[in-house]
C-alpha cells in the first residue's frame, strides 16, 4: 500500500507549486490545480479504504499496516522521531473524511472565493492544510503527531488571517495560534514525560496493551497522581486546545473571521476534531494506565458541550452559532470517549465517538458551506439581515434543513444514529451523564432550528441586491454532502471501528432512541413556535425576563474578557513591562554605572599626570623621604 504516500505528497507538492509559482498563474488555473490534485488524493484515499477494509481480518482485527517509515531525527538510540504512515481503522476513516470534506471545500471555494485577491495563496494554504491534517492522522508516533499538529495550527493561522488587511481577522488568527500554542506546551511536556518513562514515541508500542513499557513509571507519583496520568492529562490539554474544549475554546468563535469554506474545513470538520482523534489514538493508554484522566475527559467534554449549547442559543451571528454548535458537538465526542470501556459492548462509547466524528464532519461542513452560500447572497453574517430565504435559495434551503435535522438527531439522518449511540453509552456510564447529554441534545435541536427559521422563514429582510441561489460549483458540494448525511447513518460502523478492533453489531437501543427523538421533536416544536413567523413576541419576552442570563450568555459568560485581563494586564503589564524596564534601568544601568564610575575615577586621578616636571620631582622626593623614614624608624 505504498501508494498511500501520494495522498500526502500530492497536497504538499501542490502547496510548494502554488506557493512559489502561484502569483504568476491565472487564479482559475491555481484553483484547478489545487482541486485536481486533491481529487486524486481523495480517490487514492477511497481506494486505500477499500483496499484496507477488504483485506481479511487477522484474529478478528484489521491488521495495522505501516506502508512507509523513515527515521527523521535521532535523539538517542531509543528515542527518535520517525515519519511514517500508519494505517488502522481510525486513520483510514480519517483519510476518507479529510479528503472528502477538503475536496468539497476546494470545489466550493472556486465559486465562493472567485475574484478575491490572493486566490492562489488561498489554494496554496488549503493544500498545506490538507497535507498537514493527513500527516497528522497517519502519524506512526506521537512526535509525528506533534509535528503535524503544529503544521495544522499554522495553516489554520494563515487561513484565519487570510483577509490580512482586516484587523479582526489578524487578531483572531493571532489568538487562535497563541491559545493553541499554549495548549501545545502541555502536549509537548506530556510527550516528554511519556517518552522519558516509556522510552518510545511509537503509537504501536504505547497502545499495544503491553503494560511492561510503563514499568519504569511504576510508583512515580506527583501530587497524588501517577506520572503517566500526569503525562496523558498534559497531552489532553493539547487536545483540549485544538478541539476547543472549555476553557481553551475561546479561539474557535473568533476563528470565524476566516473565509467560510475554511471554517467548514478546518474549524468544523477536520482540525478541531484532532483532539478527539488523538485521545482515541491513545485510548488504550488512557483506559489502562490513567482511568481517572478518562473521567476528566468526560467531565470536560460534558461541561464544554453544555456551555457551548447555552451560548449558541443566544448568538445572532450565524457563523458564531455554528461555531458554538461545533464546540458542543466535539464535547459529545469527548464525552463518548470518556465514558467508554474497552471490550465488546463496553467499548460502545469509543465506536460512537468515532461514528459521530464521521457524521458530524459531513453535516457540519454542510452547514458551514450552506451558511457560506447564504452569506454570499446577503453579504452579512447577522440573522437579522436574513429571513424568508427559502424560496430564493431552494437548494441551500433543503440541504441546510437536512443538516439541521441530522444534528438535531431526527432519523433517518446520520446524526441520529451516531448521537444515539453516544447517549446510550452515557446512560450506561451514569444516568446523570445520560440525562445531561440528552438535555444538551434538546438544546442543540432548539438552537439549530432557531437558526434555521431565522434564516429561511420569517420576515424577509431588505437587501441591496436580491439574494439568489449560489452557482453550481457551490451547490454541488452541498448536494453531495447532503446525500452523505442522508445515508451515512446506515453504515455498519461497528463493523469497521471499535475500541478493541473486534467487529461489533450496532443495535439501536429503542428506549434511548425513542426518548431522544421525542426530546428533539419537542425542542424543534418549541423553536418552530418561537421563530417560524419571525413575529412571535416570546423570544423577546424571554430575553427580557432572563436578562442577566441572556446578556451573560450573549457575551459568552465573559470568558474572553477574563483572558484579556490575564494576558494584557497580568502578563504584559505585570511581567513583560517590568522585565523590560528592569533590563533597561537596573541591569543596563549597572553597566552604565560601572562605566560612569570608571570615567569619574579617571577624571579624579587625572591631575596626578599633569606633565609638570617640578610636580613629579616633588612627589618623587616626598616619596623617597617617606620610605626613608619608614625604613629607618619603623
Amino acid at each position: 500500500m505504498e501508494y498511500t504516500l501520494f495522498i500526502l505528497l500530492l497536497p504538499l507538492l501542490t502547496f510548494f507549486g502554488l506557493g512559489l509559482f502561484g502569483p504568476k498563474m491565472k487564479p482559475c488555473v491555481a484553483g484547478i490545480i489545487g482541486t485536481v490534485s486533491l481529487a486524486i488524493a481523495a480517490a487514492l484515499a477511497y481506494f486505500t479504504a477499500w483496499d484496507y477494509f477488504s483485506a481479511p481480518r487477522v484474529d478478528d482485527v484489521y491488521a495495522t499496516v505501516v506502508p512507509f517509515h523513515v527515521e527523521w531525527l535521532h535523539f538517542t538510540d531509543k528515542l527518535h522521531i520517525d515519519l511514517g504512515i500508519l494505517l488502522d481503522p481510525i486513520s483510514v476513516m480519517m483519510l476518507v473524511v479529510i479528503t472528502t470534506v477538503s475536496l468539497m471545500v476546494h470545489i466550493y471555494s472556486m465559486g465562493y472565493m472567485k475574484g478575491e485577491r490572493g486566490f492562489q495563496r488561498y489554494y496554496a494554504f488549503l493544500s498545506l492544510f490538507s497535507f498537514s491534517m493527513l500527516g497528522l492522522v497517519v502519524a506512526t508516533n506521537i512526535f509525528q503527531t506533534y509535528i503535524f499538529w503544529e503544521l495544522v495550527g499554522v495553516s489554520s493561522y494563515l487561513l484565519i488571517g487570510f483577509y490580512y488587511t482586516k484587523p479582526e481577522a489578524v487578531a483572531a488568527s493571532k489568538k487562535a495560534f497563541i491559545v493553541t500554542r499554549f495548549a501545545d506546551l502541555g502536549f509537548l511536556i506530556g510527550i516528554l514525560l511519556l517518552s522519558y518513562f516509556t522510552k518510545t514515541f511509537s503509537f504501536e508500542l504505547l497502545t499495544s496493551g503491553d503494560h511492561s513499557i510503563f514499568a519504569d513509571a511504576a510508583g512515580v507519583t506527583f501530587l497524588g497522581g501517577s506520572v503517566i496520568s500526569w503525562a496523558v492529562a498534559l497531552v489532553f490539554i493539547g487536545c483540549a486546545g485544538k478541539s476547543a474544549m472549555f476553557p481553551l475554546h475561546i479561539w474557535l468563535p473568533d476563528a470565524m473571521e476566516g473565509p467560510t469554506p475554511v471554517s467548514a474545513l478546518i474549524h468544523a470538520a477536520t482540525m478541531v476534531v484532532a483532539g478527539v482523534y488523538l485521545v482515541a489514538r491513545l485510548f488504550p493508554v488512557y483506559y489502562f494506565e490513567a482511568p481517572e484522566v478518562l473521567v476528566m475527559v468526560a467531565v470536560v467534554g460534558a461541561f464544554t458541550s453544555l456551555y457551548a449549547a447555552v451560548v449558541a442559543c443566544v448568538q445572532t451571528d450565524i457563523k458564531r452559532v455554528l461555531a458554538f454548535s461545533t464546540i458542543s458537538q466535539i464535547g459529545f465526542m469527548m464525552v463518548a470517549l470518556g465514558v467508554s470501556g474497552m471490550e465488546g459492548h463496553a467499548g460502545l462509547g469509543y465506536m460512537a465517538s468515532m461514528f459521530h466524528l464521521f457524521t458530524h464532519a459531513m453535516f457540519k461542513a454542510l452547514l458551514f458551506l450552506g451558511a457560506g452560500a447564504i452569506i454570499h447572497a446577503v453579504h452579512s453574517n447577522e440573522m437579522s439581515h436574513m429571513g424568508g430565504l427559502r424560496r430564493k435559495m431552494p437548494i441551500t434551503h433543503i440541504t441546510f434543513l437536512i443538516a439541521c435535522l441530522a444534528i438535531a438527531g431526527i432519523p433517518p439522518f446520520s446524526g441520529f444514529f451516531s448521537k444515539d449511540e453516544i447517549l446510550a453509552a452515557c446512560f450506561e456510564f451514569s444516568p446523570v451523564m445520560g440525562w445531561t447529554m440528552s438535555f444538551i441534545a434538546a438544546l442543540t435541536a432548539f438552537y439549530m432550528f432557531r437558526l434555521y427559521y431565522n434564516i429561511f422563514w420569517g420576515k424577509p429582510a431588505q437587501h441591496e441586491h436580491e439574494p439568489h441561489e449560489a452557482p453550481a460549483n457551490m451547490t454541488v458540494p452541498l448536494i453531495v454532502l447532503a446525500a452523505i448525511t442522508c445515508i451515512a447513518g446506515f453504515i455498519p460502523f461497528g463493523h469497521f471501528i471499535t475500541a478493541d478492533g473486534i467487529s461489533y453489531n450496532i443495535h439501536l437501543d429503542w428506549q434511548v432512541a425513542g426518548t431522544s427523538i421525542v426530546i428533539a421533536c419537542i425542542a424543534i416544536g418549541v423553536a418552530t413556535g418561537m421563530y417560524r413567523t419571525g413575529t412571535s413576541p416570546v423570544p423577546g419576552r424571554l430575553a427580557e425576563r432572563f436578562r442577566g442570563v441572556h446578556t451573560a450568555a450573549y457575551h459568552r459568560f465573559y470568558i474572553d474578557e477574563f483572558y484579556q485581563f490575564v494576558t494584557h494586564k497580568l502578563i504584559f503589564g505585570g511581567i513583560s513591562r517590568p522585565i523590560a524596564w528592569f533590563d533597561r534601568h537596573v541591569i543596563d544601568g549597572a553597566m552604565n554605572g560601572l562605566a560612569w564610575v570608571a570615567q569619574k575615577t579617571s577624571y579624579a586621578i587625572r591631575s596626578l599626570q599633569s606633565g609638570q616636571i617640578q610636580q613629579y620631582a616633588f612627589v618623587f622626593l616626598l616619596g623617597t623621604l617617606i620610605i626613608l623614614v619608614l625604613v629607618l624608624y619603623v
Binding site: P23, E71, W72, L73, H74, F75, T76, L79, I81, F143, Y146, I147, F148, E150, L151, V154, Y157, G161, Y164, T165, P167, V170, A171, S173, K174, F177, I178, R181, F182, D184, L185, L188, I189, L192, L193, S195, Y196, F572, I575, S576, R577, I579, A580, D583, I587, D588, A590, M591, A595
Partner: protein
C-alpha cells in the same frame, strides 16, 4: 597547504583584493568571488568530512595541521575540525555570503567597510578551525575589534555609544577569558611542559582545583559573547545601531563564538568543574531564555525585539550545553546553527525594511505585506522558524534540546527544563505581535505605499538563508547525526 588554512587565507586574499580595488564594482566582484569561494569551500569540507567519516576515520579531529609558532611558550598554529566545527564553518560561510549581498549598497566608504568585514570573517574562520588555545584567542580578538569600527562608523542612531558599550563589555569578557586561558596553560602538562593544544590538555586533564577556578572565568568570558544573563545588555544596543550586514554577522556568527567557546574550552577541558558548577549557570541561562522572551514582547523597535529574542535563543544554546549530555549538546549546536541562520535572516530583512521606511518602530508601520510581499513573506518565514514551526530549523533544534534536557530526572533540572519550554509560547506571542503589526492590517503611513519590493541582490540574500533554514528543518537527519557523532570526546571527558 592544509585545507583548513584556506579558510583563513581566502579572507586575507580578499583583503588584498580590496586594497587593490579602485571602484565599487571591483569591490563587489572581490567580495562576491571570495564569499562564493568560501561557501563552496565549506560545502567541500562538509563533503570531505562526511566522506572521511563514512570511510571509517574515527579520529577526534580531522584535517589536522600543526606548525610551531612560538617555541619558548609552546604555542602552535594548530588546526583541525570535527562535525561541530564543520557545521559552524558552514554557518559562517552562509552568513558571510548573504551579508555581502545585504550590504550591496553600503555607503559611505564601501572599501573600508568591506576591509573590516573581511578581517572580521578571518577571525571567525580562524576561531572555528583552531585547536590551540592561543591561536583561538587571537582569532577571537581579531573578530571582535573590527566590530567597534563597523558600528561606530557605519552604524545608525547612538552608534558611538553602542560601539563603545559593545566593545568594552566584550573586552571585559576577553579579560576574564585571558586569565582563564593562562590558568589552563599553566596547569597543563604534568611534566612541566605546558601546552596550549586543546586535545593534549584534555588528554592529560587539569587538576580539580584549577578547574574550579578557571571554569567560571572561561565560561563567563565566552558567555558574555553568548548573551549570558546578566551580561547581555550590549546586545540590544549593539544590534540596534549596527549596519545590516554587521548585525547579521554578529548575531549570526559572533554570538556562536561564545557558545562554541563555552563548549570547546570550558566544558571540554574542565568537565569535573562543569559538572559541579553547572547549576549556577543553568539558573542564569534559564533566566536568559524566559527573560529575553518576555522582554521582547513589549519592545517597539524591530531590532530590539530581535536582540532580546536572541538573548532568549542563545540562552537556550548555553542552557543545552550545560545539560552535559549528548542529546542536549547536539541540540545546542543545532540551535546555534538555527539561530544563526534565522537571526541573520531577521536582521537582513529588518535592514531592508528600514532602508525603505526609515523607521524601525513597529507602531509607525503596518500593512507592509501588501506593499512588499517578498520581504513580508520572508519575514513571516523567519518568524515561523523562530517560533519553532516544524519543517524549519528552529523546531529541530528546540526539540532536541528539550528531549535532551528531559533526560535529567532530578527536580532541579526538570523544573528548569519546564521553565525553558514555556519560551515556545512567549516566542509565539512576540513574533505574531510583530508580524500582525508590521505586515498585516492597514497601511499606517501613506508614504509607504510607493515603496518597492526587494531588489535582486536582496533576494539572493533572503532566499539563500530561507533555503538553508528549510533544509535543516526538513531533513535534519544528516546534520544532526554529524553533530551527534562528534560529541563522544566530550561525553567521554564528562563520564571519565
Amino acid at each position: 597547504m592544509n585545507l583548513l588554512s584556506l579558510f583563513v587565507a581566502i579572507p586575507l586574499l580578499m583583503l588584498l583584493g580590496l586594497w587593490l580595488s579602485r571602484e565599487m564594482n571591483q569591490i563587489r566582484a572581490v567580495m562576491v568571488t571570495g564569499a562564493s569561494l568560501l561557501l563552496a569551500l565549506s560545502f567541500g569540507l562538509l563533503a570531505a568530512y562526511l566522506g572521511e567519516r563514512a570511510a571509517g576515520n574515527t579520529a577526534e579531529m580531522l584535517f589536522m595541521a600543526d606548525t610551531v609558532w612560538f617555541a619558548p611558550l609552546n604555542i602552535h598554529y594548530a588546526v583541525g575540525v570535527d562535525g561541530i566545527s564543520v557545521a559552524m564553518l558552514l554557518l559562517s560561510s552562509l552568513i558571510v555570503f548573504t551579508g555581502v549581498f545585504a550590504s550591496w549598497k553600503i555607503n559611505p566608504l564601501p572599501k573600508e567597510f568591506f576591509l573590516w568585514f573581511c578581517l572580521l570573517a578571518t577571525g571567525v574562520y580562524g576561531f572555528f578551525i583552531s585547536i590551540d588555545l592561543f591561536t583561538m584567542f587571537m582569532f577571537y580578538e581579531i573578530a571582535l575589534i573590527p566590530m567597534f569600527l563597523l558600528i561606530g562608523i557605519w552604524g545608525t542612531g547612538r552608534k558611538e555609544y553602542a560601539a563603545m558599550k559593545l566593545t568594552l563589555m566584550l573586552m571585559g569578557g576577553s579579560a576574564l577569558l585571558l586569565v582563564g586561558i593562562l590558568g589552563i596553560y599553566f596547569n597543563s602538562g604534568a611534566d612541566g611542559q605546558h601546552t596550549m593544544n586543546l586535545l593534549e590538555i584534555a588528554q592529560a586533564g587539569l587538576p580539580l582545583g584549577a578547574q574550579r577556578l578557571f571554569f567560571p572565568l572561561t565560561f563567563i568570558g565566552f558567555g558574555v559573547l553568548g548573551a549570558l544573563f546578566p551580561f547581555h545588555t550590549w546586545s540590544p544596543d549593539g544590534h540596534a545601531s549596527a549596519p545590516t550586514a554587521v548585525s547579521m554577522l554578529h548575531a549570526g556568527v559572533l554570538m556562536k563564538l561564545g557558545g562554541y567557546g563555552c563548549f570547546r574550552v570550558a566544558i571540554y577541558l574542565m568537565p569535573e568543574a562543569a559538572q559541579e558548577l553547572s547549576w549556577i549557570f543553568l539558573i542564569l541561562t534559564g533566566i536568559s531564555v524566559v527573560y529575553g522572551a518576555f522582554s521582547a514582547c513589549v519592545q517597539t523597535d524591530l531590532k530590539y525585539i530581535n536582540a532580546y529574542s536572541s538573548v532568549s535563543h542563545c540562552g537556550l544554546v548555553l542552557f543545552a550545553i550545560l545539560m552535559l549530555n549528548q542529546t542536549a549538546m547536539t541540540g545546542a549546536v543545532l540551535q546555534m546553527l538555527s539561530h544563526g541562520l534565522m537571526t541573520a535572516l531577521f536582521f537582513a530583512l529588518i535592514g531592508m525594511i528600514y532602508g525603505r521606511t526609515h523607521t524601525r518602530d513597529i507602531r509607525e508601520m503596518g500593512g507592509l505585506m501588501k506593499i512588499m510581499p517578498f520581504l513580508g513573506v520572508g519575514y513571516v518565514i523567519a518568524g515561523l522558524a523562530s517560533l519553532g514551526l516544524p519543517g524549519l530549523s528552529g523546531f529541530v533544534a528546540e526539540m532536541t534540546v528539550f528531549v535532551g534536557s528531559f533526560e535529567h530526572s532530578d527536580t532541579f533540572h526538570r523544573v528548569l527544563t519546564l521553565v525553558a519550554t514555556t519560551s515556545i509560547v512567549i516566542t509565539a506571542v512576540y513574533i505574531l505581535r510583530v508580524v500582525g503589526k508590521l505586515l498585516y492590517g492597514t497601511v499606517q503611513n501613506p508614504q509607504h505605499l510607493t515603496l518597492n519590493d526587494a531588489t535582486w541582490f536582496e533576494r539572493i540574500s533572503v532566499v539563500t538563508l530561507i533555503i538553508a533554514i528549510a533544509a535543516i528543518g526538513m531533513a535534519p537527519f544528516w546534520i544532526s547525526n554529524m553533530i551527534h557523532g562528534s560529541l563522544w570526546p566530550v561525553i567521554e571527558q564528562l563520564t571519565k
